[in-house]
């Protein structure tokens, strides 16, 4: 089935819950209401004409400058039966983004959702094991959000020398703590 037919089938089944479409995009997609994503996903997998048995990718994107500011979760689907692709998108508010999990539909979603939670702070309701996956457990914040600021310290170590720190260091001041002191480079030796 081509993207248009898939979209029509979804609209016929779910009506209002399919809130928009992007069929002209390089990877065509339909926009799904957040609360309906689990049933839409289950339908996409179990319907014999769609048969999307494979979740290729699940990605979150942050759009703080859009009006209204939003987060997106994109599900790229593939069918090993019919060899067609389609994408679902869910638009979420930037404040406390949350949507139902789809790990019961595609097993791989478990890890993808953990990664999305880890890096963007999107909460997947009903997830069996929603922990950080790539970053340390005690990490604070979600770095792939566009308003992310690198912390100055992590466990007492300088994570990122700021402009002021670099200037102070170049002026000859010793900054930092512990064995990982940031000592200023000796410019005169570098010829």
């Amino acid at each position: 089935m081509d993207a248009k037919a898939i979209h029509e089938k979804l609209v016929a089944r779910f009506g209002e819950k399919i809130a928009g479409e992007g069929l002209a995009a390089a990877s065509p997609f339909a926009v799904v209401a957040p609360e309906a994503i689990a049933e839409v996903a289950l339908f996409c997998k179990s319907d014999p004409r769609l048969a999307f048995d494979n979740l290729m990718c699940l990605s979150g994107v942050d759009y703080p400058k859009e009006n209204p500011p939003r987060m997106e979760v994109a599900y790229h689907l593939y069918s090993y039966v019919h060899l067609h692709t389609f994408a679902l998108k869910v638009l979420l508010p930037r404040e406390n983004p949350a949507l139902p999990t789809v790990e019961g539909v595609w097993g791989v979603a478990n890890w993808h959702e953990r990664e999305c939670f880890d890096l963007l702070g999107i909460v997947f309701l009903g997830h069996s094991d929603l922990r950080r996956i790539l970053l340390p457990d005690d990490w604070e914040g979600h770095p792939l959000r566009k308003d992310w600021q690198d912390p100055e310290y992590y466990h007492g170590l300088h994570v990122k020398p700021t402009q002021q720190m670099a200037e102070r260091a170049l002026a000859g001041e010793k900054i930092g703590v512990g064995p990982f002191d940031f000592t200023p480079p000796n410019r005169s030796n570098q010829g």
């Binding site: 390089a26 689990a38 049933e39 494979n54 290729m56 990605s59 019961g104 097993g107 478990n110």
Partner: protein, 391 residues
């Protein structure tokens, strides 16, 4: 209203903890040599049997996706190289294809053929490492040396072409960094002749159909078709489970549809289909198919008119606003790039679907009920590279 069934978290199940006795939590890695990098496994064991397993990843996380947002498009390529460091050609190829799709660029047939030559040479080199280290994991040291020796010859070809042995930055957006040097085709032919007549038969005799190897692996780590598809196993792992799907056939890019080669699918000739043996067997016979493609590509290169390899490279890579999910068949499976462009010189968002990441997500299913010694065989057979899992 139909909703999916909730997934049971085996690790945290209380009833199981209350029933069983004498359980021990065993920590394996991140410095364990058989975990192929810095993978840490928590195993809940009852004697020698693994009751539940929990992989911990992230020890090699280098913020690829965050870095990609802060550099321009060509600047992402060297970072992409460093994800799967055993098959760097495939990584940059995937990213270049994705940006070219956004940019609506078509590379010339000559460049496409060069890319195929490099991708397939890389596939042979990558599978050589995979099979070689695997045999070492399960206790045979010599094949590892043989295979690394043969991989070395391929790396020499890469070095001759672009100066780098491991991280090439070869596939650029709209072209490649260097044309092949004079004599490359002949040298590659010599290498392939040796591969076809000596290395490959030797590999089959020495390892793959070796009685010890077969008996060790033919019924270990069996992954069913449904589980493989649900957990998005791709590449040799998927084909090892008997699903004849290869992107080079299904969604051809760079003109793969004009080459004559077969998709290798696990046969289950010594045990249940989808075992560790099948995954490895697929890898080995895939090397022969790559050699077939290479022979055809080299023939074409000789006859083809040489065009400048960078003539299509845009001076400023600035794709129009839009997004694309593009995947390609890397040696370890489908490597997907989801690239969002807001019309700037930096990508707005790059998400990588790494085949090793998804392959590792099935691990706890397969590991349940296994012996600890088989865990090593299982990890190796999934052919993971931690650089790509953690990105």
């Amino acid at each position: 209203m139909a909703t999916p069934e909730p997934v049971v978290n085996e690790w945290d199940r209380q009833d199981r903890q209350d029933l069983d006795t004498d359980e021990m939590v065993l920590n394996m890695g991140p410095q364990h040599p058989a975990t192929h990098g810095v993978l840490r496994l928590e195993l809940r064991t009852d004697g020698e049997v693994v009751k539940a397993a929990r992989p911990h990843i992230g020890y090699l996380h280098r913020c690829f996706e965050k870095h990609a947002e802060n550099v321009d498009y060509p600047g992402v390529l060297p970072y992409a190289d460093r994800m799967d460091y055993c098959a760097a050609m495939g990584n940059t190829l995937g990213f270049a294809l994705a940006v070219e799709k956004l940019h609506n660029l078509q590379v010339s047939p000559y460049v496409a053929t060069l890319r195929i030559v490099m991708a397939e040479l890389q596939r042979i080199a990558s599978h050589a490492v995979a099979v070689g280290t695997y045999t070492m994991d399960i206790g045979a040291f010599t094949p590892f040396l043989h295979l690394l020796r043969d991989r070395e010859k391929i790396l020499d070809l890469f070095e001759w072409t672009c100066g780098a042995r491991l991280l090439y930055n070869y596939n650029w957006i709209g072209g490649v960094s260097h044309d092949i040097p004079e004599g490359f085709v002949r040298a590659t032919r010599d290498l392939l002749r040796e591969f076809d007549s000596v290395t490959f038969p030797e590999l089959l005799d020495l390892i793959i159909h070796n009685r010890i190897f077969v008996k060790r692996l033919a019924s270990v780590g069996v992954c069913s078709k449904e589980l493989a598809i649900s957990h998005d196993l791709t590449g040799p792992n998927l084909r090892g489970s008997g699903v004849p799907r290869d992107l080079r056939k299904d969604e051809p890019y760079l003109g793969y549809e004009t080459y004559d080669f077969d998709v290798c699918v696990g046969q289950g000739q010594y045990g249940p289909l989808g075992s560790c043996f099948d995954r490895n067997w697929v890898r080995v016979v895939e090397m022969r198919e790559s050699s077939k493609i290479l022979h055809q590509a080299l023939d074409r290169l000789e006859k083809m008119e040489r065009t400048p390899v960078q003539e299509k490279c845009p001076k400023r890579v600035k794709p129009p606003k839009g997004e694309a999910y593009v995947r390609s068949e890397a040696p370890r499976g489908q490597l997907g790039y989801y690239v969002v462009s807001d019309g700037n010189i930096n990508p707005y968002r790059v998400k990588v679907k790494s085949p090793c990441f998804t392959a590792m997500s099935v691990f706890h299913h397969l590991a349940r009920g296994m012996m600890i010694a088989d865990i090593i065989a299982l990890i190796g057979s999934l052919d993971i590279v931690l650089g790509e899992i953690d990105r």
